[in-house]
Homo-oligomer: 555 residues x 2
Amino acid sequence: MDTTQASSQAPVWNGRRNEKKRRLEALGKLANGRVIPTNRIVEALEILIAPGDRVVLEGNNQKQADFLSRALARVNPGKLHDLHMIMPSVGRPEHLDLFERGIARKLDFSFSGPQSLRISQLLEDDLLEIGAIHTYIELYARLFVDLIPNVALVAAYKADRHGNLYTGPSTEDTPPIVEAAAFKDGIVIAQVNELVEDESELPRVDIPGSWVDFVVVADQPFFIEPLFTRDPRLIKPVHVLMAMMAIRGIYERHQVQSLNHGLGFNTAAIELLLPTYGEKLGLKGKICKHWTLNPHPTLIPAIESGWVESVHCFGGELGMEEYIRARPDVFFTGADGSLRSNRAYCQMAGQYAVDMFIGSTLQMDADGHSSTVTRGRIAGFGGAPNMGHDPRGRRHATPAWLDLLQTDNPLERGKKLVVQMVETYQPGDKPTFVESLDAIDVAKAASMPLAPVMVYGDDVTHVLTEEGIAYLYKARSLEERREMIAAVAGVTPIGMRHDPKKTSEMRRQGLIALPEDLGVDRAEATRSQLAAKSIAELVEWSDGLYNPPARFRSW
Amino acid sequence: MDTTQASSQAPVWNGRRNEKKRRLEALGKLANGRVIPTNRIVEALEILIAPGDRVVLEGNNQKQADFLSRALARVNPGKLHDLHMIMPSVGRPEHLDLFERGIARKLDFSFSGPQSLRISQLLEDDLLEIGAIHTYIELYARLFVDLIPNVALVAAYKADRHGNLYTGPSTEDTPPIVEAAAFKDGIVIAQVNELVEDESELPRVDIPGSWVDFVVVADQPFFIEPLFTRDPRLIKPVHVLMAMMAIRGIYERHQVQSLNHGLGFNTAAIELLLPTYGEKLGLKGKICKHWTLNPHPTLIPAIESGWVESVHCFGGELGMEEYIRARPDVFFTGADGSLRSNRAYCQMAGQYAVDMFIGSTLQMDADGHSSTVTRGRIAGFGGAPNMGHDPRGRRHATPAWLDLLQTDNPLERGKKLVVQMVETYQPGDKPTFVESLDAIDVAKAASMPLAPVMVYGDDVTHVLTEEGIAYLYKARSLEERREMIAAVAGVTPIGMRHDPKKTSEMRRQGLIALPEDLGVDRAEATRSQLAAKSIAELVEWSDGLYNPPARFRSW
């Protein structure tokens, strides 16, 4: 669009609005009001989307607009091609069929767990071009700046005929995706599991109908995965040991009151130690009060024991619906009783409002840079980089944040705690601590402008391994940071650089701490410390309210 | 609430829900459905709020829930006391009457322009306790973590009897404030200028009725201020000079395509030079395409000349309504045609999605730390610290961001441009560059845990004065950063530290640039370069669509 005054034609200021009007008119009687018939969705997409469009597709961490993605993969590539797909998560095979079939060309995304290998292959075959790999919140932010969508395809549990949506426990990414399209003359299409007549039949309204152009009843309920359920049976004694060290050497020491946990077994072990080990240490009410977190089933015993004042959720978790409904003082719920999750706000809170992020990684180099990207796989990081850094725009103080001050300079700031909790070796005898991250080679091979680093070394404040804790925020130089990392890196190539003669001096200076420095008895690190040792015990703790998906049931 | 299993009483999990129910029942027939009669609002607040409650009051940058704040200031302090007020902006006298009258005790806030002096006094008189001073987005984030509200008091243009709200151009802070209360069994009360029967009479729905408990028609339309209107008549030749330097030495050099502007005359001058000086340099379509910004009237000539692809807004601006309605390709608008602003998303975008933040300050020290807090005034910073730092969770690259790379280390990241644009002296002959920020003394006097620094020195990439530009991101040491700042600090005490013998070497190394190094001719820096020299000319550019408030009219 040329809007230059000097141009011969009068400038057009409502091009997007006219184009939307044209498409809606072209759809004609195909839709019944706002309702597209299920069996005509492919046809409708061919009319409502145009070649070259930017299309946001709600594939997110758990919930998938999979009816719409399957329909989009079936359009005629002669009619619809060169789409620029924007997807928080690339999780389903048809997401990449779009590229294989020539329907889509460019991809901006945040996370691509199971499809990461195929993305690499499509890239190599020149069938796919990557815009960038983002954190979730960064991707949403660009929807309002330089990635404004033409079309948004989202998923909800229920809609009424006016387009009002009930997204309930899985509100997740829907609000910013819909807002960016709806308020820039984009077209918003929602697949729903169920259509009702009007608002009075919806449990509540999560997205107002005036933001939604069309709803379509999906051929089957949207796909959703219980990604945050960890079976306590798989927690090993080494996880218990590391969890005990975390509680004593980090949570208690810094008085961590608000936090985010990653989804590994390490942090699941911490959750399950709070009502036992944590209780014994007298820490209840002193640490871990406010959480930004998916509704982890392993948090149930801590909630039931009165540890947890509040949990704000990125998304829902299958099986946790009735438990959450019965615990509204802890979770955010609507007047109808079901969870309200919101990934954008929870990421914002996980960045700005919490004392600590604690997570894990597959590789860490000598400087503390880490990545979960390994050879041949372009995975993305979801929310980790957003929460795994010190937000320098933060201006409020908390005890934990202030505890990381190193001087009494009135212009020094505190720090968010960014903890990497890793075993020195991954399964299959691969060292976690490596000379060089695979991410660097992946970036070279794919001509990426940046190596896909998850958390940068200078953002990490603590590294915790089964060997000990390195208090990296105390490092006075890059050299010292390297020494501290090496000291807890075990018998990996990086760990072998550590000079054992320096260990006691580093312990004395408080740069590192071994279990014995923290009063952690290795002999106590057994599974018997876990408040629940199985999914069945989590169900018991929940008084039967937690209803685990079949694959987690062994009874 | 004690939810310990060991406790003798059964744990309570729906305390907030029961308490909400109790209050709604206590209100009885005072409300007619969801509508509270205007003349009974004080009575209603005394019933719906309880002593010690956390109350979020929507006083934001422009829009004020002033009917509700005036009503709250009139409640009986015997009934309602010790409130913990959470307010994005403390802008009105009655906001502090709450503390003087003993109704409120604690305050968490972001910005307090005109009331900053009185906050200091109340603090000194021990009538007010400050929780913390936040950036906007940080404050919203805490509403979901450790500052979960009991009551939210907000403002909208219109509501229907079901509680659906039309916030239109002034949506601003309303969504996160309402969400945090509505989904944690808080009570949401909205004052509106107009009540209609049902949704069909609302232009659109911005907040669904199922999130809102009560609406009340205000005694007069909510107070709103045109804070972002700068009269071009007040732009001086020195602003034009600095704007020319910015365009050549920063925007063009780094290819800045997405950005936020502060509200000073310096940046207004840049906006007004794009269609003249910028055009002459052939930069149209190459820089300044995507904006996160309130709808500045001084941006009209650049928009009309085809420079601006998109603007996402924090809030609205009085007088810009019809202009925005006629430019939907540029602004975010609803199906009804009016602006949709959203401060949370725009701050998120201003943090994560733009190449550059450029703003101003009142004081900067030798290390580049800056603050607008001066003696006796506790002002807060609104959004500046959030946008004025390098967001380290960012993982996408743009030309400007990559241009700040200093090495070819594959693990080095690019940087967001954070530009401070200041004259070396403030009006009244006060030096901008000072030995020590007043903020340090203010913090000491008020026993604040942190000095209220707006932008920290290590976050600033460029300092631009009438003397020249210091490219701080190139500094290889703190010492070098100091020298670069001193070199452009004029005849201030800090500037006097500069050794003029070093100037040419610093210019040669590209550490600093003087106007002549940038090809900027001082003689050309006249007001004649401005695309509009008055508000009347802005109206002309807008084809009569911009309708400036009376105080800006001289005709």
